[in-house]
């Protein structure tokens, strides 16, 4: 089968991986001269993309067409006959749309010192030389060009990206940093990052601003917090720009016959499939999403294009490879009452990573109660409803659910027959018959094996569903979030199983005779795949033979990734990695060294 992949960003390359692994040929069509898309515009992600792409770039069945786009498409039987702008024409059986996202350009605010987050990224990129001299005070402003009347979706990645930009800034210099946000919509463990930077002195202010008066030496910013207007000077102001759909999506839709929704993204008929036969979509063509989800949906679209996904999912379930649990429900207040309040707030970053799930459930419950004629208050410290969830949130606001946003130093105080909001120059009291707290549900998350809790950032990114080689987590057990993600995650997991299954791995070997059981390999293993087992051995020392327990290292091959750290750590060369066959045939550099 011949598959056309439109867009050479991270999701397109992920889809190509699955297609190639299954033995089909793929053409990646990229309209710019370089692969990588939005991900490669981020300095710290460029290497990651390159490494990921390098794994398939020498595959003879892969062809990459750069700097061209589609001129004409004709339906030919089950497939498509495609003519490119560079004159090439060929037939394809399946098409994967991975057209990606285009960052918003805030021309009306931009200046020499008011930068977009991508421009700022280039400024702190080490390869662009030294930082500017006046790098002492930096302000980050979120939600520029998203969550508005013009574009009502939340971009879902700008908060995470800003937290990382704070991290990369602090790695190079020690400026004073303030982050101005509406809601901090972080993903999973990023809430720990937030906590760390809060403790390190980064200021988080729950207010936004569009008053940027730029001059030669800095930017004057006004913002309103604690009941009064503050004016502050920053050396640089960074606008966290939103991600909009690719403007070419409509044309693609017209060429291939799939429909585009009101926001400009591909409409899904079934998960990851557009409403045209043989055309699938992944990554930023579906909605704004982060890199992990782009890879996940890329794998999923690859599976849909070349295999019978239904059968593979059934097979995966039979073998017990796919693992999921049912999410806990919300207990709705019973009896007669007129008002209800939801308090969405927690200070523990371990609980905060479930904001995304709880916000959606609380808003859903609030809308139901509101429809039944109750007065509903939602008091939030942070409400996490990324991408399409923001539309639901907007509906709730329009329907009259009262949203009260707490500022940093405001607090929620339950009172007799209601609650009060105090601090920060505001004192409001409300009547509420019932109050439902976030922390009441925090217990239902404890002890579960969430992938997003137990896996580190790189593991989650490159292996978006893998718990071990025998378990792939999907749905609630991967990361608690909106329902629409579960079927996508199942497809992604199937793609990952395909990529994992046939891969030949060389596991390290242990010479058990000589192992002293010192445990240094166990400490070194990033996957916790080594355990020390006590083996009964007969020993004879100066006398009769007796049984003794001797500790020996043991490798659990399910979780081993064959990274070789144990082999290099072992003090007595007991653990060895089998020699891998030389991939580069005539490397002169190595020959010369010898």
């Amino acid at each position: 089968m011949n598959v056309l992949i439109i867009g050479g960003g991270i999701s397109g390359v992920s889809a190509a991986k699955v297609v190639l692994k299954e033995g089909h040929s793929a053409v990646i069509l990229e309209s710019t001269p370089e692969l990588g898309g939005t991900m490669a515009r981020i300095a710290n992600c460029r290497i990651g993309f390159k490494t990921f792409y390098d794994e398939i770039k020498d595959d003879p069945r892969l062809r990459v067409v750069r700097g061209a786009s589609i001129a004409d498409v004709k339906k030919a039987g089950d497939g498509f006959s495609v003519t490119l702008t560079n004159g090439e024409a060929s037939g394809f059986d399946r098409v994967i749309v991975a057209a990606g996202l285009s960052p918003y350009d805030p021309v009306e605010y931009k200046g020499k010192r008011v930068l977009t987050s991508l421009e700022y990224d280039a400024k702190i990129d080490q390869r662009n030389g030294e930082l500017p001299e006046d790098f002492e005070k930096i302000g980050f402003f979120l939600c520029v060009g998203s969550r508005s009347k013009e574009y009502p979706l939340c971009s879902s990645v700008c908060c995470s990206y800003t937290i990382r930009e704070v991290k990369w800034t602090l790695q190079r210099a020690k400026p004073e940093i303030a982050v101005f946000y509406n809601d901090l919509r972080l993903f999973g463990q990023e809430f720990y990052l937030e906590k760390i930077y809060r403790d390190a002195g980064v200021r988080f202010v729950r207010a936004n601003s569009r008053y940027f008066e730029e001059d030669e030496t800095g930017v004057t910013v006004r913002y309103f917090v604690d009941g009064e207007l503050k004016e502050e000077r920053f050396n640089y102001v960074v606008l966290a720009i939103g991600l909009r759909p690719n403007p070419g999506m409509k044309d693609l839709g017209a060429l291939f016959g799939f429909s585009v929704n009101e926001y400009g993204f591909a409409a899904e008929r079934s998960p990851l499939a557009t409403d045209a036969d043989g055309v699938f979509a992944c990554g930023g063509a579906l909605e704004p999403m982060n890199i992990k989800d782009s890879i996940l949906t890329g794998f999923g679209a690859g599976v849909l294009a070349v295999r019978d996904a239904e059968a593979l999912i059934a097979e995966g379930r039979d073998q017990g490879l796919l693992r999921d649990e049912d999410p806990p429900g919300i207990t709705m207040p019973q009896g007669t009452f007129s008002s209800c309040a939801f308090y969405l707030g927690t200070d523990d970053p371990g609980e905060a990573m479930f904001y995304e799930y709880m916000s959606a459930r609380f808003i859903e419950a609030a809308r139901t109660l509101n429809e039944a004629g109750k007065t509903v208050y939602v008091v939030t410290k942070n409400i996490v409803m990324p991408s399409y969830d923001e539309v639901t949130f907007e509906k709730a606001r329009r329907e009259g659910v009262v949203i009260i946003n707490l500022e940093e130093n405001q607090s929620f105080v339950p009172q007799n027959g209601g609650f009060a909001v105090t601090g920060g120059g505001k004192d409001l009291a409300f009547d509420a018959d019932h109050i439902i707290y976030f922390k009441d549900y925090a217990g239902s998350f404890a002890g579960r094996e969430f992938l997003s809790v137990h896996r580190s950032e790189p593991q989650l990114r490159w292996n978006p569903t893998r718990w071990s080689r025998k378990k792939y987590h999907v749905g609630f057990l991967r990361h608690p979030r909106d329902k629409r993600w579960k079927p996508r995650e199942i497809l992604g997991a199937v793609g990952e199983i395909i990529l994992d299954r046939e891969e030949e791995r060389l596991y390290p070997t242990i010479e058990e005779e000589r192992c002293s059981g010192c445990g240094s390999c166990m400490d070194a293993c990033p996957q916790k795949a080594i355990e020390i087992k006590v083996a009964d051995t007969e020993v004879s020392v100066f006398g009769p033979i007796s049984n003794t327990g001797i500790p020996k290292a043991h490798i659990n091959e399910d979780s081993c990734v064959a990274c070789g750290l144990c082999a290099s750590t072992c003090p007595s060369d007991v653990i060895k990695l089998p020699e891998q066959e030389q991939k580069i045939p005539n490397c002169t550099a190595i020959d010369n060294r010898r």
Binding site: A207, S209, Y211, R222, V402, I403
Partner: protein, 152 residues
């Protein structure tokens, strides 16, 4: 009648236009009235009206809003706060010195006669200490340029 119903009647606003506010306080950051008072937050006022609380005539926003629509231009949801304030003024029977000057001019001369308006309004501007802000307010006019035109 609660103020919100009044405001809905006088503007072409629906109830949902009040509640769609994100609470980002961008309106407060650009509000011209904040040059004088420093604690004006249109978002807070909007929320109070929505919650059925009464707004008094002493409110700085009701007293001094110039109807410049800077808040609307910057607001992600383009909420037209000056429209609401005009409705409030109507309900509370408040007239700003400018309105008085304009109306006086129309009733006296049958048209807006600028020297008369200035004669009536300038003493108020001087007494209120507004003159020091005038240069800055002139700069704000750039804000009204059409969307996507860069200020330099």
């Amino acid at each position: 009648m609660p103020q919100i119903d009044h405001a809905i009647e006088l503007t072409d606003y629906r109830r949902q236009d009040f509640s769609v506010c994100l609470g980002c306080k961008i309106c407060a950051s650009v509000c011209t009235v904040n040059d004088i008072t420093g604690n004006t937050n249109p978002q807070d006022m909007l929320q109070r009206i929505f919650l059925g609380k009464d707004i008094s005539a002493d409110e700085p926003l009701v007293r001094s809003c110039t109807g410049c629509y800077r808040c609307t231009g910057a607001c992600p949801w383009e909420i037209r706060i000056p429209d609401v304030i005009r409705a409030l003024r109507h309900e509370l029977n408040v007239e700003s010195p400018f309105e008085k000057a304009f109306k006086g001019s129309v009733s006296l001369f049958g048209r807006v006669y600028e020297p008369y308006v200035l004669m009536k309004a300038v003493p108020f501007l001087i007494r209120g200490g507004y003159m020091q802000h005038v240069t800055r307010w002139m700069e704000y006019m750039g804000f009204h340029l059409p969307h996507r035109v860069k200020r330099t």
